[in-house]
């Protein structure tokens, strides 16, 4: 698998996801500076977490207009897998690669903690290794992860199996109490209609090693390597 991680000024999970990718791929991903305008042929593009451009205008809004994103869009349209994590998810919604928006958390605060997620579908390259309806534990670390889409769009997304993960409790039940940020229908991650672009607020790369407290996230990278080798 050939993978690249896009680095914006203010990205801060670029190294973390590169480490997780390397552990699964056995090779280092390409690190691409935001001012670059071209990418080689790739199997996977990761838009990492962080605070691109300080998130000063609106999360992801500035990064969405940086030169490299035109090329990411072009590759995504061609079918290349694109994974946006946290700020990366926000950037992908700002570029229009994913539907909906991410608003301020309901409690108006930054939240960093482990959450449980229900895997809504295991038929994509990202989630093949997980059981459908399975329970995983990933950390979240964001202040703007409150997902929203208008009812019509959301209905279509659900019908097309575009919901990737939902926040749930440790028993796998999707409840209001298990929703950390006020997201619509407990949505934690979504696909585009073609299922080659995934955006999610939780950080699979942060629990991809038992020493750090869990390895549920590793399966996502293993699944991608398995599918795209």
């Amino acid at each position: 698998m050939k993978a690249a991680v896009i680095v914006f000024p203010g990205s801060n999970c670029d190294r973390d996801v590169a480490v997780a990718l390397e552990a699964s791929m056995g090779a280092k991903p390409l690190m691409v500076w935001h001012r670059d305008t071209e990418l080689p042929d790739l199997d996977l593009i990761v838009v990492p977490g962080g605070f691109s451009y300080g998130d000063y205008l609106r999360c992801g809004a500035m990064a969405a207009h940086s030169p490299i994103m035109r090329e990411v869009k072009r590759q995504a349209d061609k079918g290349t897998r694109v994974l946006g994590i946290c700020n990366g998810f926000q950037i992908l919604t700002e570029t229009g690669l994913l539907p909906g928006v991410l608003m301020r958390n309901k409690n108006l605060k930054f939240i960093c903690k482990d959450v449980h997620l229900r895997v809504e579908s295991n038929t994509t390259d990202f989630c093949r290794g997980y059981a459908a309806g399975g329970l995983v534990r990933f950390p979240i670390a964001h202040a703007e992860g409150n997902y929203f889409a208008d009812p019509e769009t959301f209905k279509a997304m659900e019908a097309q199996g575009q919901i990737a993960f939902r926040y749930c409790n440790h028993r796998g039940e999707v409840t209001e109490a298990a929703n950390p940020n006020g997201s619509l229908a407990n949505v934690a991650g979504i696909y585009n209609a073609k299922h080659n672009v995934l955006g999610l607020m939780p950080h699979p790369e942060r629990l991809a090693e038992a020493l750090l407290g869990g390895s549920d996230g590793k399966m996502m990278f293993d699944s991608l390597v398995e599918a795209l080798r």
Binding site: G10, F51, N107, F110, A178, L212
Partner: protein
């Protein structure tokens, strides 16, 4: 030319005798700019004039110390060609006036102190003290400080992995915000601040200079009065995004060999950075202030030199390397300007619009700044409180009360607002005895803690100083780490009062003794004095930031009980010391008595034993005994466990039950040991000549002692409820 009036001197915090000295040094009257420069360089904050004499008595050397106090941060050798660089620094005064920006820029400042020496910051911690929860300002200050620390640290992408938060009425008018940063560098790539090379360019880079934070250092060197709110313009404004760019740009530039010397612009901005660099190198600087990147029009030399705008650096480059350095700054979209040149004059010559606006000798303002031997009085010893004079209550009820008191209540509401996992090396998250952060790409790790028990220091500054160091040593040992070195952040009231100066002198003496006996040298630090409002001082708070090393991160212990049916083993002696304890304060409403004494030789032996047992894999869980005593320690181990594993304890009949449960005798650890390992653990303890006793078993879901019991679930509930309840937030579920 500005007329130098007594009012002008007073507003600059310059005393009459100090002004006399200025006249002697210059042989003439200073102009306004020069007076401003003297005022910040001779401020308590920059000059350490009241504390220097005593700080010099602290032990600062060990074979593993690469650089002790005097540089931007301390440096220790962790082997394999790598070094850890760390320091703790206060941002107390600004955080009280404007909590969000005050705390945020405190984090920014300490980060710069560390990366300016060539380290990538890998962990942040903070030690916070707020006023009484019932004080009308407390909630607002907690909310602002926590948001500020998170807002800055989360954005720069450095995990905030630990710290401590206490509440006490003495901090009502002077909160403490002490921020610590730990960084990782290659041992042969450490950067210092001494300027060298006459003719070399002096380069400014980072953010532009504005009018914010002018006279911050002077403000931080005075007491607060009823008009302190008017000092808001002296608080700086932070930009963590620029800081992130600055970190990456600095590290990229440091990978070349273009830099001769480098220093961040902290308190007193361009003034302190330029004077200190020149002073350390024994050189002079000629600077053209027209070349300083400015955010606003019409800035005067006074404003340019005294601005505390954030995210700025000063460096000396090798000749001819300007273009290489500028290209890197351009990539990261940072300002870059050659603003001056090194000279052999030993003088600072500043120009603005072609005219000389200041011409000062460097040394008298920096390394040779004033040093005072202020009068001090020895603190009055508090009586030892007899156990019989402390009322006994049901231990289960007392435990619930203690675990829900502000000082012991869970701080989850705080640390969940901090990104404590970014960088992917946080092995032990907040909530344990010490944070454990892996050295990236290796199996080694650093353990980090911040500690001090201010009520002990108030009762007996000498014992309290010893205890603060011993507790840091204990917290590092409790996770299995070898304690290496400390940074200190000394927060006190007005040193011009002999009783406050007595607290400073005696607590430094205590700290020094403990550091010497525990081989735990001080490598960096910061002093914050004048923490008083309308004449009332804070509790003396010499915070200790301790750093330890784990050679194998897999051989580390955490405090949560792991299984049912293990033995609970207590290391260290229990005499039931209730003086100055939390039990006495929270249950009996009494803040009095001598604090528990620390026996350093026993402290050292117990630490060695515990580290040995952890390294041998004979310990399932380990927790030091501190605030609240033994029963609180056991309850914390139960509350942290998966499934809330309980404990049944057998109290000895030789001691009143409440003294055994809640006494704060020092030098103790609670271990969870499997039955298979018990004999070996007891034998090892005897070999180390440490007091050891099996005090009970893990299992069930209650904590029981002396015929009373309380469910662990119930303890978790009250422990988690207080802070969110106080802050008006919802309980964050798990």
């Amino acid at each position: 030319m500005t007329q130098i009036t007594p009012e002008l001197l007073a507003s600059h915090g310059i005393k009459a005798d100090e002004y006399k000295k200025i006249l002697e040094i210059l042989g003439r009257e200073p102009n306004h700019t020069e007076l401003g420069i003297f005022s910040v360089m001779w401020s308590e904050h920059c000059s350490y004039k009241s504390s220097k004499k005593w700080l010099k008595t602290l032990p600062t050397k060990a074979p593993w110390v690469i650089c002790g106090p005097g540089e931007n941060a301390g440096v220790i050798d962790i082997g394999d060609g790598q070094a850890i660089i760390f320091k703790m620094e206060s941002h107390n005064h600004p955080s009280f006036i404007e909590p969000y920006q005050g705390a945020a820029t405190g984090v920014g400042g300490i980060l710069r102190d560390v990366f300016t020496m060539g380290a990538r910051p890998i962990a942040n911690l903070n030690a916070l003290r707020f006023g009484d929860p019932s004080h009308p300002k407390t909630r607002h200050l907690v909310a602002g400080v926590v948001a500020g620390i998170g807002g800055y640290g989360n954005c720069v992408g450095v995990p905030t992995v630990g710290g401590e938060t206490n509440f006490h009425a003495s901090y009502n008018g002077n909160i403490l915000v002490n921020a610590m940063t730990v960084g990782l560098a290659d041992k042969d790539k450490i950067f210092y601040s001494a300027a060298a090379g006459i003719g070399n360019p002096v380069v400014y880079f980072g953010s532009k200079t504005g009018r914010d934070g002018i006279h911050g250092a002077t403000m931080a060197s005075a007491e607060f009065d009823e008009k302190s709110d008017e000092k808001r313009p002296t608080v700086q404004v932070g930009d963590p995004f620029t800081e992130k760019l600055l970190i990456e740009a600095c590290l990229e530039l440091m990978a070349t060999d273009a830099i001769v010397a480098i220093q961040d612009m902290g308190a007193a901005g361009l003034t302190s950075s330029s004077f200190e660099m020149a002073s350390k190198g024994g050189l002079g600087i000629e600077m053209d202030l027209d070349l300083v990147p400015m955010r606003e029009d019409g800035m005067t030399p006074y404003e340019i030199m005294l601005s505390e705008s954030q995210e700025r650096m000063l460096m000396v480059l090798k000749p001819g390397r300007e273009a290489q350095a500028k290209a890197i700054m351009d990539k990261w979209e940072l300002d870059f300007a050659v603003v001056g040149v090194l000279t052999d004059t030993g003088r600072m010559v500043l120009k603005r619009h072609g005219a000389v606006v200041a011409d000062l000798p460097i040394d008298p303002l920096a390394l040779a700044s004033p040093e005072y031997d202020r009068p001090w009085t020895a603190p009055v010893k508090q009586p030892v409180i007899a156990v019989e004079d402390v009322k006994a209550v049901c231990p289960a009820e007392a435990l619930k009360t203690l675990l829900s008191c502000p000082d012991l209540a869970s701080k989850r509401w705080i640390y969940e607002q901090y990104d404590h996992m970014v960088m992917g090396d946080t092995v032990q998250r907040p909530g344990g005895d010490a944070a454990v952060v892996r050295i990236h790409g290796t199996n080694k790790a650093v353990a980090i803690t911040t500690d001090v028990t201010p009520r002990y220091v108030l009762a007996d500054p000498y014992e309290g100083g010893r205890q603060a160091v011993a507790e840091a040593y204990r917290n590092l040992s409790a996770v299995g780490a070898l304690p290496m070195a400390v940074t200190d952040n000394l927060n006190f009231g007005n040193p011009e009062k002999p009783e406050i100066m007595g607290q400073i002198v005696e607590s430094i003496r205590g700290m020094g003794q403990a550091c010497r006996e525990l081989d735990f040298p001080v490598v960096s630090g910061n002093v914050s004095l004048y923490n008083e409002t309308q004449g009332a001082a804070i509790l003396p708070t010499p915070a200790i930031g301790g750093v330890g090393l784990l050679e194998d991160v897999a051989k580390s212990a955490s405090l949560s009980f792991k299984e049912s049916g293990s033995s609970i083993v207590l290391i260290g002696e229990t005499k039931g010391w209730l003086g100055a304890s939390l039990y006495l304060r929270e249950i009996c409403g009494r803040e009095e008595g001598a604090p528990p004494p620390v026996a350093l030789h026993r402290e050292r032996r117990a630490g060695e034993l515990v580290r040995q047992l952890i390294s041998d894999g004979q310990v399932q869980a380990c927790h030091d005994v501190s605030d609240g005593g033994l029963l609180v320690a056991v309850a914390e181990m139960a509350m942290a466990s998966d499934g809330h594993i309980g404990a049944s304890l057998d109290a000895p009949s030789t001691l009143p039950l409440h003294a055994w449960c809640f006494g704060e005798d020092q030098g103790r650890y609670v271990l969870e040991v499997r039955d298979d390992d018990l004999a070996a653990v007891l034998e090892e303890a005897l070999g180390h000549d440490a007091a050891v006793r099996v005090i009970g078993k893990t299992g069930g879901h209650v904590i029981s002692v002396g015929g009373r019991a309380v469910r662990v679930d119930e303890l978790v509930e009250v422990n988690e409820a207080w802070l969110p309840g106080f802050m008006g937030a919802e309980l964050s579920g798990h």
